[in-house]
């Protein structure tokens, strides 16, 4: 059997392995040696072997054969062996294994050991992996230790009690009196543990919550002592006395003051004092201030204090430290519903954070900005949001685009602005919008008859520059098909004049039809639009006919079906094309075709002259009106 290698040497051997395979070999040899040693009787290197096994376990190799050794080591009388044994128990054992029950007795004995460090080992292990049965068994011991031992053990017993309460809720009752009395301790470690225990008890049961509300004056007193006290070197961190304890106390006060007027009143002064006196130039100060702000906003505090709290958050937003900006925005998000006006005051800073380099900060800023949009600031906010959309990271695009649409729908100051905004979004991020955007936009355009001319011009221009954004192209095609005559007439007041001839328009539509970037749905739109134009233009009907007939042999079934039906319409009803120089005439056929193929619910206006035609088309589809 190979001589037992101390821990450091084994680590060195593992590190010198150049490949994964070599490392596995070294570890397997070591594990075999360790296993053999475990089977032997007592020898001096026991703790070394278990320590080696734990190292191997951290690297990810199986170590379950060490479980019984842990149990044996814990029962040993030597401190070094107990120490490694307990560490092993925490790493290798859990309540599902039978071996864990075996250590219950050892823990029980060690809890009453004369040496406090042995006691602390037992407490630590129980708090880490104690099962419900072990907790029930040992709870009275813990309670005893909470009352009568030194501060070192008391603070550990307090946290152990928290674990017990988490595992077995009913035992909370057992610890409540001891927890109460611990509040009068001077040692900060014990106070800390006591506050954590009380917090746990209050979160578990409302009776405990009621009972501990009476301690609010005591807690306020302790807190005051920390805030006003002079410099105390042992607890001082950058000029603040025990910030960790302060944060814990504030959290407990928050739980006790929630929804309770009396408790909230009792802490108002204190919170105001902490908020104004804490030095915010260091991180620790900010941690305390942040906790204070959260508490103020969660309890029933007076409005002056709330405004103070929101202002502190606003100051945080301007802080150089990104962490602080991030958590400030998280908190503002939580209160934007309740304290909307207060948060509005900081809108400028929040909008500036949209330009931050950190993606997490950007995400938060976007959430907040969308929540802060209102009727009064819609124009300026939208400018910022659209700017953000053009440069935002891809994972936020869809959220931003959809948020902008919702905001625009709710607060649009004018129709033209609304359409402009939607167009802008489609041009910038058309690929990331939801599917129902296209029919929604079409509906909006249809209903805004005064802007048909303007819309079709804008869309035509957009189509000329870029045909990759499917939603935009679909809407543009539909518009051109529907209002192509307005486009060709060329006299729109709101846009720069542009001479558009029929060939240009057909060129544009053909480009869409032939482009590999266009999806099938887009091609469908383009084909229907081409067809509809046959009533609006005079010179190039033959060109349209040839385009449509090409698609009569298209591979795609949908396009082929459409093309064939359009061809049929061309042949049979050519004489009706110009029976009325009114576009609604042929339009209604196109709309019906469009409707039935795309299952949209449009209103169809029927005129008596085209009734015959319409009925024919309907029977073609087996539909009734």
């Amino acid at each position: 059997m190979s001589p037992s290698v101390p821990l450091q040497e084994m680590i060195r051997a593992i590190r010198s392995a150049r490949t994964q395979c070599e490392e596995r070999g070294v570890i397997q040899r070591e594990c075999a040696a360790i296993r053999a040693q475990f089977r032997q009787a007592d020898n001096g290197g026991r703790s070394h072997n278990l320590a080696k096994l734990l190292y191997v376990h951290m690297l990810g190799y199986p170590a379950h054969f060490g479980q019984m050794e842990c149990v044996r080591m814990i029962a040993s009388s030597r401190y070094s062996e107990k120490r490694v044994g307990y560490l092993g128990a925490m790493m290798l054992l859990d309540e599902k294994q039978d071996a864990s029950l075996l250590i219950t007795n050892s823990i029980k004995n060690d809890l009453s050991h004369s040496n406090q460090y042995v006691q602390s080992l037992a407490l630590c292990t129980l708090a880490c992996m104690g099962s419900a049965e072990m907790c029930r068994d040992l709870a009275p011991e813990i309670d005893r230790l909470l009352r009568a031992s030194n501060s070192y053990i008391k603070k550990k017993a307090a946290l152990c009690a928290v674990h017990i309460v988490r595992k077995v809720h009913e035992l909370g009752e057992l610890f409540a009196p001891a927890a109460r009395s611990l509040l009068s301790e001077k040692n900060h470690g014990v106070l800390h543990g006591a506050v954590v225990l009380i917090t746990e008890l209050c979160e578990r049961s409302s009776e405990s919550l009621e009972r501990f509300r009476k301690t609010v004056p005591d807690l306020v007193q302790i807190m005051k002592g920390l805030v006003i006290s002079g410099y105390s070197p042992e607890h001082d961190v950058a000029g603040i006395s025990d910030p960790f304890l302060q944060v814990r106390l504030l959290r407990l006060l928050r739980i006790l003051g929630r929804n309770n007027e009396t408790a909230s009143d009792a802490m108002n002064d204190l919170l105001a004092q902490v908020a104004t006196n804490t030095d915010s130039t260091k991180t620790v100060g900010n941690a305390v201030l942040y906790e204070t702000v959260l508490t103020v906003l969660d309890i029933k505090s007076e409005s002056g204090l709330r405004v103070l709290a929101v202002n502190i958050l606003g100051r945080f937003l301007l802080n150089n430290d990104r962490n602080i900006r991030y958590i400030a925005m998280t908190s503002l998000q939580k209160i934007v519903g309740t304290d909307h006006n207060a948060v509005q005051r900081h809108r400028g800073t929040i909008v500036d954070c949209l330009k931050d380099q950190d993606a997490s900060v950007k995400r938060r800023a976007l959430d907040l900005s969308l929540a802060l949009v209102s009727a009064s600031n819609i124009r300026s906010m939208m400018k910022e949001l659209l700017l953000f959309l053009s440069s935002c990271p891809p994972e936020l695009r869809s959220q931003a685009a959809n948020g902008i649409f919702t905001a625009a729908e709710r607060y649009a100051p004018s129709k033209r602005w609304h359409i402009d905004t939607i167009l802008h979004v489609l041009i910038t991020a058309g690929g990331d919008v939801r599917d129902e955007t296209v029919p929604n936009l079409i509906q909006l355009i249809t209903n805004t008859s005064e802007l048909h001319c303007y819309t079709v011009h804008k869309l035509y221009r957009a189509l000329l520059s870029d045909i990759s954004q499917q939603s935009l192209v679909q809407v543009a095609c539909w518009c051109i098909g529907e209002y192509g005559d307005l486009l060709l007439r060329g006299d729109c007041q709101e846009v720069e004049p542009m001479q558009v001839c029929e060939d240009d328009v057909l060129d544009a539509l053909e480009t869409v039809l032939q482009s590999h970037m266009s999806s099938t749905a887009t091609r469908g739109f383009a084909l229907t639009a081409t067809m509809k134009l046959s009533t609006r233009i005079t010179d190039n009907v033959d060109r349209i006919r040839s385009i449509v007939s090409i698609y009569g042999s298209c591979i795609d079934l949908e396009l082929q079906q459409r093309a064939v039906e359009y061809n049929a319409l061309f042949k049979k009803y050519d004489h009706m094309r110009y029976a009325k120089k009114d576009s609604t005439h042929f339009c209604c056929c196109g709309v019906i075709l469009f409707c039935s193929v795309n299952s949209f619910a449009f209103n169809v206006i029927l005129e008596p002259e085209c009734e015959q035609l319409t009925m024919h088309v309907l029977t073609l589809y087996g539909l009734t009106l």
Binding site: L7, I11, G44, A51, L54, Y55, H57, M58, L59, G60, Y61, P62, R78, Y79, S80, R83, V84, L87, D94, E95, N115, Y117, L123, C124, A127, C128, M129, K155, K156, L159, C160, V162, H163, H188, G189, H192, V196, E234, H235, V237, D242, F244, V247, R251, T283, V284, N286, A287, Y290, E291, R322, N323, I324, R325, Y326, I327, Q357, D358, S360, V361
Partner: protein
């Protein structure tokens, strides 16, 4: 509550892994890999908070990390812990290690991982913060080490006597 404390280097090799909830060995290694993957992608000038990975609790848990030279110190916590407080705690932990090992570097953590566990045990117990005062922690750790040394000494001298 703190669910896990992980220390790994810039290549993802674990230097310390302490879990306060039970996972199988495979899952533990997966968590370490996933956490490394999430944390190493981060730029130097972004904030130190991350949503937790899928394996370690998803969006209910946060990863709070600090990067010191070649090591990442990652605490995985739930919403009951103050984020800024945990950042400060990491700072205290590192300063304590520095005091105990005298200008601590990665090699110290590699070769004395059991000592690091002992120091951590004085700071965090059962997933809860136990002690944050650096001097108090060092005092306790020193006392325990002394006890261990005196035992070994006695044992060795009795062995020689035989």
């Amino acid at each position: 509550m703190i669910r896990a404390i992980l220390i790994f280097n810039n290549h993802g090799k674990p230097r310390l892994s302490k879990f306060y909830e039970h996972y199988t060995e495979d899952t533990e290694q997966q968590i370490i890999r996933e956490t490394f993957h999430l944390v190493s992608k981060r730029d130097e000038n972004v904030c130190n908070f991350l949503e937790g990975g899928m394996l370690i609790g998803g969006s209910d848990y946060k990863l709070i990390y600090r990067h010191y030279a070649t090591l990442y110190f990652v605490f995985c916590v739930d919403s009951s812990e103050s984020e800024l407080g945990i950042l400060d705690l990491i700072q205290v932990f590192v300063e304590t290690l520095d005091k105990c090992f005298e200008n601590v570097c990665e090699l110290d953590l590699i070769f004395h991982v059991d000592k690091v566990h002992n120091i951590l045990a004085e700071m965090v117990m059962g997933g809860m913060v136990l002690e944050t005062n650096m001097n108090e922690i060092i005092m306790q750790v020193d006392a325990q080490n002394k006890m261990e040394k005196s035992e070994t000494f006695i044992f060795q001298s009795t062995r020689q006597d035989r």
